[in-house]
């Protein structure tokens, strides 16, 4: 039996999109385009060249270094004559992979973990929260840097695993805080009074009600992750060159700032706009989630 109230109206994507402000619509569209191009990058004609030298029609190779935007290279070329747009699109994959792994691990493991300890309380809760306090006592970037140094191998898979694992504690904290309030609600008491098993209450009552808040948090956390990967790549500690990532593109362009700024401008814009979009859409979803929480 299900006790917590649920909305009778079916979720309509179109309606939700219409209720966004113009800016939020813009941000949302940017995120959708970003995700689609990153996923289907290999299908875009002329983009599958591993050296990122030809974009659409151009096959002249890498003679044009630090070139300005042109018909052949829509955003120009970088110091090695590689097409910036092509590298931006493949760089988006790195950001996307990091976000996907951080959010998935965080929501699944952190969300479940937090819901569990927030509901059962007692010694298990104390032990888990103490561990989390210690992990969160480290400045995040410093902990990340230390782990990356000692893991040695540095490719996208390893990076995703590390970031995924490090995402769990903070999500656990968020989920626990919510589970604490949810487990005091009358529908949980009702389920308990009827002798429902703890595990059933956890899965049917607690988790579904904790999830929206955790998901709303996930978008804001995603913005932090994109910026974090940017910083990491800027320091040369994300995917290894020549593989592109927005942060290492900016770092590469930094040396030529006196000659041309464009190779630095494009990835910076992509990074800033993506972080801004995630924050903006995240704020919008948080407001929706708050309204929903107030309703139940």
């Amino acid at each position: 039996m299900k006790f917590s109230p649920r909305s009778k109206r079916k979720f309509s994507f179109l309606e939700a999109f219409k209720s966004m402000s113009f800016l939020t619509k813009l941000c949302f569209s940017w995120l959708v385009i970003l995700v689609l191009t990153a996923i289907f990058a290999d299908l875009i004609p002329g983009l599958d060249d591993p050296n990122y030298q030809a974009w659409l029609f151009d096959t002249t190779g890498n003679e044009l270094r630090n070139d300005t935007p042109s018909w052949n290279h829509w955003l120009g070329t970088d110091v090695n004559g590689r097409d910036i747009l092509a590298r931006l699109i493949y760089g988006a994959r790195v950001s996307l992979a990091v976000v996907a792994s951080g959010v998935t691990c965080g929501v699944v493991f952190g969300g479940l973990f937090g819901s569990f300890v927030g509901y059962v309380r007692g010694k298990r809760e104390a032990a888990v929260m103490a561990t989390i306090d210690v992990i969160l006592a480290f400045p995040g970037l410093v902990l990340l840097l230390t782990i990356i140094t000692f893991v040695g191998a540095r490719d996208l898979k390893v990076l995703c695993i590390i970031i995924g694992a490090l995402s769990i504690p903070i999500y656990t904290r968020v989920a626990r805080a919510n589970a604490l309030t949810i487990s005091r609600r009358e529908f949980v008491a009702a389920a308990e009074a009827l002798g429902t098993k703890q595990r059933t209450i956890l899965i049917k009552e607690i988790v579904p009600n904790v999830l929206p808040t955790v998901l709303a948090y996930a978008l804001v956390a995603a913005a932090v992750l994109v910026a974090l990967e940017g910083a990491l790549a800027f320091l040369g500690l994300s995917v290894e060159s020549p593989a592109p990532s927005w942060g290492n593109m900016i770092n590469l362009a930094r040396a030529d700032l006196r000659v041309t700024i464009w190779p630095a401008v494009w990835p910076s814009l992509a990074l800033v706009f993506t972080v801004f979009s995630l924050n903006n859409v995240g704020d919008w979803i948080r407001q929706k989630a708050q309204k929903r929480a107030a309703a139940i």
Partner: protein
């Protein structure tokens, strides 16, 4: 109660040191690889001798115990690469990082408090919306991009400030200001956004309090009420947020010190990482985490000192 807080502080510090030591010593990748290049590892005898010297053969807990004992006595070991004492390096470099952090927090508060107060006071108006939008925008620019923009305009185009390098305060005050200003502003922008939001939401709540109403009915000027009466409770929240933000700031200084080539602790950590200098990384990481934990304990204690309500409750 003070004693309980101090016990917790010591427990956290121990746990933090243990976790760092655990990470550095058990993650894949033999520390011996960091000590000598692969081709030198053919010499089995030499490798065995090194293992003995660095105590790599002892059980994990024994190694942790002896390292902790040394650490408490102020000895974090010697750099594998340069043979410098880790503690000497920290002492030498912490002034740069500390100054950077203090100046950026100062700048951020100086700008965020008026912005937040105005936004909260004029809640819902165009001014409030613009300030909130500005805060959201500032929150979305990573500090290294702000740094690059500043370098491009102020150093490369206008040639007003040096793009990289550091002049110590003891050498020249104006030189020091010239080198600290761009890195500090880069770090401050994100913080401005965070603090403005906090002050704004605090202000909205405080302005509903009855004592604000009574101050108003006494005929006090709005500006006086805002900054003298309404801002006072916000000082508590702000202190907490500043304390919590130190973590982000420490991470930020690593990136910014690298960008501006400042001889700070963050730059040293990165150099050690690239050199795979595991003793230096271990020492600096423990130090940074401990600073963060200690600062937040101080914030908690400070909270109790200035707010009698919290003292009495617990």
């Amino acid at each position: 109660m003070l004693a309980a807080r101090l016990v917790r502080l010591v427990a956290t510090l121990l746990a933090v040191s243990f976790l760092t030591f655990f990470l550095v010593n058990t993650l894949p990748g033999d520390p011996i690889n960091a000590l000598i290049p692969p081709d030198a590892q053919q010499d089995q005898e030499f490798v065995a001798q090194l293992r003995e010297e660095y105590g790599l053969n002892d059980p994990f807990l024994v190694r942790y115990g002896s390292w902790l004992g040394d650490a408490i006595n102020g000895d974090l070991g010697r750099s594998v690469i340069t043979d410098q004492l880790v503690t000497d390096e920290i002492k030498h470099r912490i002034p740069v990082t500390a100054e950077l952090a203090v100046v950026s927090i100062g700048l951020a508060l100086l700008l965020a408090i008026p912005l937040g107060v105005t936004a909260g006071y004029r809640q819902g108006t165009k001014i409030d919306q613009s300030i909130s939008a500005l805060a959201q925008f500032l929150l979305s620019i990573p500090s290294f991009i702000v740094g690059l923009i500043l370098i491009y305009f102020l150093s490369i185009r206008l040639r007003w400030l040096p793009a990289t390098g550091w002049t110590r305060l003891t050498e020249s005050v104006t030189g020091n200001i010239k080198t600290v200003i761009m890195p500090a502003v880069s770090l401050a922008l994100t913080e401005i956004a965070v603090y403005t939001r906090v002050v704004r939401s605090d202000m909205i709540n405080t302005l509903k309090e009855t004592y604000v109403l009574s101050a108003k009915s006494k005929g006090l000027k709005d500006r006086f009420i805002l900054f003298r009466h309404a801002l006072r409770p916000s000082s508590l929240t702000l202190t907490t947020i500043v304390g919590l933000n130190i973590a982000g700031l420490i991470g930020g200084t690593v990136v910014i010190e690298q960008l501006f080539a400042l001889p700070g602790l963050g730059k040293r950590l990165l150099d050690a990482i690239f050199q795979r200098d595991f003793i230096m990384v271990q020492g600096v990481t423990v130090f940074m985490a401990c600073v963060y934990v200690v600062i937040n304990t101080c914030v908690d204690l400070f909270y109790m000192v200035i707010d009698p309500r919290i003292r009495r409750k617990s």
